[in-house]
Amino acid sequence: MGATWVYAEVTPEGLHPSALELLTKARSLGGDVAAVALGPGATATAAELGEHGAATVYASDDQVFVDQPGRPAAHTLKALIDQHAPALLLLPGTYEGRDVAGCLQALTGSTLMANATDVSGPDRARTEIFGGTKIVDVDLAGPEPKLVLVRPKSFPAEPSGGTATVVPIEAVVPPGPVATVIERHAEAASGPKLEEAIVVVAGGRGLGGPEPFAMLDELAAAIGGAAVGASRAAVDAGWVPYAYQVGQTGKTVKPEVYIAAGISGALQHVVGMKGAKRIVAINKDVDAPILKIADLGVVGDLFQIVPALTEEVRRRASS
């Protein structure tokens, strides 16, 4: 088969973990594998990309890729595609991946499959719909490369021990009107990263406001190695920042234990956490959909249960 390319997202913190997951998958498809890494720090990611199966890394450290979200990356990819004609391009289902893929589709006229959970080649990909209750295989047609946005954490990242040839490239900055970043604001985060924590304690609409999240912070601290997350309802209400959001439009987590407090279990949310090894749900509503996917459902008042749980975790930890 033709070559499979991976769009390796480069963030201010380094390589987005999805790049290594996508390369591991790309390797298994059988063709040549290359990665495209764009933005400050891109060239420095080549070693890691090579270790995970990229034989070639096309890289540019140009600042324009962060100053102008999406468009220069899509145009740079288009120039590379015209030159090398890959059969398949895998991108991460992140905000950036979506922007790049959406813009690129206008340039290539190729098919674009979003929310893929598996890929079996340039002509077929798999997705899950209705909160993961149905598995759908989709045949892809039209001009190459097929564009497939893959949900993060769909595959494990496994090194193959290879080395990549780095090909420096020039950014393609198209003429035309453009939006430019003039300021950046990062919200301080503490504790383990949500995607990497072994336990996630998440709160939803049932918390009723921002203050009760302190209760979840305490539980997370008592457990140790735990991160606090939230449903979209809690984020939309402005109780916690977007960085907390678990779900379709937020982060995908696969911890050992996921504790959902006051979260009803909308499909939006379930998609981001159903891969947890064990799910505990605390909800006052016996009919809440989250109880149907929980290994342990607790029906009751979270304002009593969570502090009591924190107390009991501390007691057993010290005994």
């Binding site: 790049v100 190729s110 098919t111 674009l112 979003a114 035309g176 009107p177």
Partner: protein
């Protein structure tokens, strides 16, 4: 300032939608509504026009039932609607839909075009960027705040770690996050007034989009292995049970 708002009519936004025998989503089951994710952008559009003058146009592609979604927008205060309803567009993929919507938006003279970050039924989240590129206008996704600024806009865009501030020229196409605004409820007066507001109806051919060959075909739909429902407990020993589970998982 004139604002065009893309609005999608989605089946059963709060429940589980259904697939038909042809593996396409059943879009006319009678339980559809304007995508709740589109109301935030509609509200932003209405606020901008109320402050600075101009008109809000609601643009939608969908089955005949999608008229109800446009009417919801008109009842909230939008001035006119455009409905692209065409049996030939049933099952249209993202690229065809983007071409149709880009052509429809191209007929308007909007200073700003607004869409939701993603639909509640498909969650694709790529179409606005495709449309912007087809139209040759600036695009900013995941916007949580927008203010007119000279000839263009000052925009706050949600990021993984916080937010960025961008300057965008006009016209621009943005997607608005849920929670960016607090959508108003249509008043009774608004609902009555909506009935006499103009809604233009177009087909794919009217918009000059003739290549309607979908590039995606569903080859199979299977039920995911059902997760066995666990145990549901309540009362005094609930806390102890959770801690037991944490110990079994070796996380404490």
């Amino acid at each position: 300032m004139n604002v065009s708002v893309l609005a999608k009519f989605v089946p059963n936004p709060t429940g589980t939608p259904q697939l038909g025998p042809d593996n396409l989503l059943i879009r006319d089951a009678g339980d559809g509504a304007l995508d709740p994710g589109d109301e935030y952008g509609l509200e932003l559009a209405l606020q901008l026009v109320e402050a600075g003058g101009g008109e809000v146009t609601v643009v939608s592609m969908g089955p005949e039932e999608a008229l109800a979604g446009i009417q919801r927008g008109l009842a909230m205060g939008a001035h006119k609607g455009v409905l692209i309803s065409d049996p030939a567009l049933r099952g249209a993929d993202a690229l065809i839909t983007a071409r149709v919507l880009a052509a429809a938006l191209g007929r308007q003279t909007a200073d700003l075009m607004i869409a939701g970050v993603e639909s509640t039924d498909g969650y694709t989240g790529t179409m606005p960027a495709t449309i912007a590129e087809l139209l040759g206008v600036a695009s900013i996704t995941a916007v949580r705040k927008l203010e007119p600024d000279g000839e263009g806009f000052r925009v706050e865009r949600q990021t993984e770690s916080g937010y960025d501030v961008l300057r965008a020229p006009s016209p621009a196409l943005i997607t608005v996050t849920a929670g960016a605004t607090e959508p108003r409820y249509p008043s009774l007066k608004g609902i009555m007034a909506a009935k006499s507001k103009p809604v233009e109806r177009l087909s794919a051919a009217d918009l000059g989009v003739t290549d309607l060959m979908s590039t995606q075909t569903v080859s199979s739909v299977t039920d995911a292995p059902a997760k066995a429902g666990g145990e549901v407990v309540s009362g005094d020993d609930a806390v102890a049970r959770i801690v037991d589970l944490l110990e079994e998982a070796k996380v404490i």
